[in-house]
């Protein structure tokens, strides 16, 4: 059981009009792994994420998860159901709830974990009050872990770009996922901030016991963090392997990395 990959994608395709943005991609991730998905711009990475998380309904293929609660097929489910099943994501083009505070953004993430209905919140039962306070405290705790506690009551839109990216991660973490999908988490960060982010992701994996699939163009981050890498180009999987293997793969160098890659 523990050997079965937590996420299993088989022959996934996504077609827009005549464009095969994702073309027969298969991929699997084991529990606790950090896996990177890289590839040139427009290769179909984000589309791949969208298919897994239910934003798009894939044209073809299967997305499956295996957890302690058994396995489940995700295709065709709504994004919120998929999130309930334990997949959380961040967005490449930041999509925070911009006119809500940082804390509230994270509290939204906790939505699923709340049990009380409208009636008990209107009557403000004791159970409800305790639950509400717990959401607040939990959310604050998450912000603290991610290092955003100084912004709690700021509006999300007033945060600097890098902080917004981290808030995306915090919000995703709040949904208690077992698998976290990060779309270019380091975009817009300077090298120093990227280093901090590497540390943060490492820590999240260790402390929160989650599996991570990330898309990133910053090779220093990809190479240090990930255990395995998948490379796509024009929607097709062109290579897979450890960072070392990928770094030396001719095809990948030609399509994506370029000759002189430092790191």
């Amino acid at each position: 059981m523990s050997d079965a990959p937590v996420l299993e994608v088989n022959d996934l395709s996504m077609v827009f009009g005549g464009l095969r943005a994702v073309d027969n991609v298969s991929l699997n991730i084991k529990k606790g792994e950090i896996v990177a998905l890289i590839g040139p711009n427009g290769a179909g990475k984000t589309t791949f994420f969208n298919c897994i998380t239910g934003v798009y309904i894939p044209t073809h293929g299967e997305v499956k998860i295996n957890t302690s609660e058994g396995s489940a097929v995700l295709n065709g489910l709504k994004p919120n159901v998929i999130n309930e099943k334990g997949l959380a994501r961040t967005f490449q083009n930041i999509r925070l709830f911009s006119n809500m505070t940082v804390l509230e953004n994270v509290m939204i993430g906790r939505h699923q974990s709340l049990k009380s209905g409208i009636l008990s919140s209107v009557l403000r039962t004791k159970k409800n009050r305790i639950e509400e306070q717990k959401v607040i405290d939990d959310s604050y705790e998450i912000l603290r872990k991610i290092g955003l506690e100084m912004y709690v009551n700021e509006l999300a839109c007033n945060l600097p770009y890098g902080a917004q990216r981290r808030l995306e991660i915090a919000r995703a973490m709040a949904t208690n996922p077992f698998l976290l999908l990060l779309d270019e988490p380091a975009a817009g960060m300077n090298p120093q901030e990227t280093n901090d982010l590497v540390e943060l992701i490492e820590r999240l994996r260790k402390e929160e016991d989650i599996t991570i699939l990330l898309i990133e163009h910053d090779m220093s981050l990809v190479m240090t963090l990930s255990e395995r890498i998948y490379v796509v180009d024009y929607g097709k999987m062109i290579a897979t392997g450890t960072p070392e293997e990928i770094k030396n793969n001719k095809e990948v160098i030609k399509a994506y990395l370029g000759e002189d890659i430092d790191a």
Binding site: P40, G42, G188, M189, N190, E193
Partner: protein, 235 residues
């Protein structure tokens, strides 16, 4: 060519820029680096008149522009690749490029320039009829840069042009910046998180810290500076 003198900019009650002074001379590449939220993008937006400056002056080729409307400023030969790309989402790639050349009337030259940017980014040529909004992040970035080039600016403002681009393309973008600077003598004002690369191609650099200029020097000297290394280069 560009003289920014003691400008301060506010968002409501929050002061984003405090007494910024920057000089750029013709033909230079200068870069502005700084942490998230330091005010780099705000500097560019103030320059173009999108965010009004409260005090101070901005002179472009001897002309005071700090109170001008953005479209006037742009017509003086300044164009910008804004943060977040800001592609016109419902225009096709081709139409987005045409918008870049909005103030120009030389049809034939425009055609040539379009071919030129298609050459620079073959990916765009492939996607020329696609709606801007559905391009991938990186494709949008290429389009944003191309659109700015279509104006044939004399001063090109770039806000994090390498954001979200594949390593191969990043390299290419910096080459293009250099090329544009050398071949067309376009002055470049570059805002970058990728300080390493930026400082490598720039002549001079400024460091911005929470709305204030904290350091300015030749690019290679900044690259060697210990503080800069620690804070921005991640070494």
């Amino acid at each position: 060519m560009l003289k920014i003198k003691n400008i301060s900019t506010y968002y409501g009650n929050i002061q984003a820029l405090k007494d910024i002074t920057i000089d750029v001379s013709e033909g230079e590449i200068i870069t502005l680096i700084g942490a998230n939220g330091a005010g780099k993008s705000t500097t560019l937006m103030s320059l173009c008149g999108i965010v009004p400056v409260k005090s101070g002056s901005i002179e472009f080729e001897g002309q005071e522009i700090s109170k001008m409307n953005p479209d006037r400023i742009v017509s003086l030969g300044i164009s910008q690749v804004p943060e977040g790309r800001r592609i016109f989402p419902q225009l096709s790639v081709r139409e987005n490029l045409d918008m870049g050349a909005f103030l120009r009337n030389d049809k034939d030259e425009i055609k040539k320039d379009i071919e030129y940017v298609y050459d620079l980014f073959p990916r765009l040529a492939e996607r020329r009829h696609q709606q801007g909004g559905t391009l991938s992040g990186g494709e949008q970035q290429m389009l944003a840069i191309s659109r700015a080039l279509m104006a044939r600016p004399r001063l090109l403002l770039l806000d994090e042009p390498s954001l979200g681009l594949a390593p191969l393309i990043v390299q290419q973008i910096f080459d293009i910046i250099k090329k544009v600077n050398q071949e067309n003598n376009t002055t470049v004002f570059l805002v970058e998180q990728n300080a390493n690369m930026a400082l490598k191609i720039a002549h001079r650099g400024y460091v911005l810290e929470t709305g204030k200029i904290s350091m300015t020097d030749d690019a290679d000297k900044l690259l060697a500076n210990e503080d800069v290394k620690k804070a921005y280069l991640g070494i």
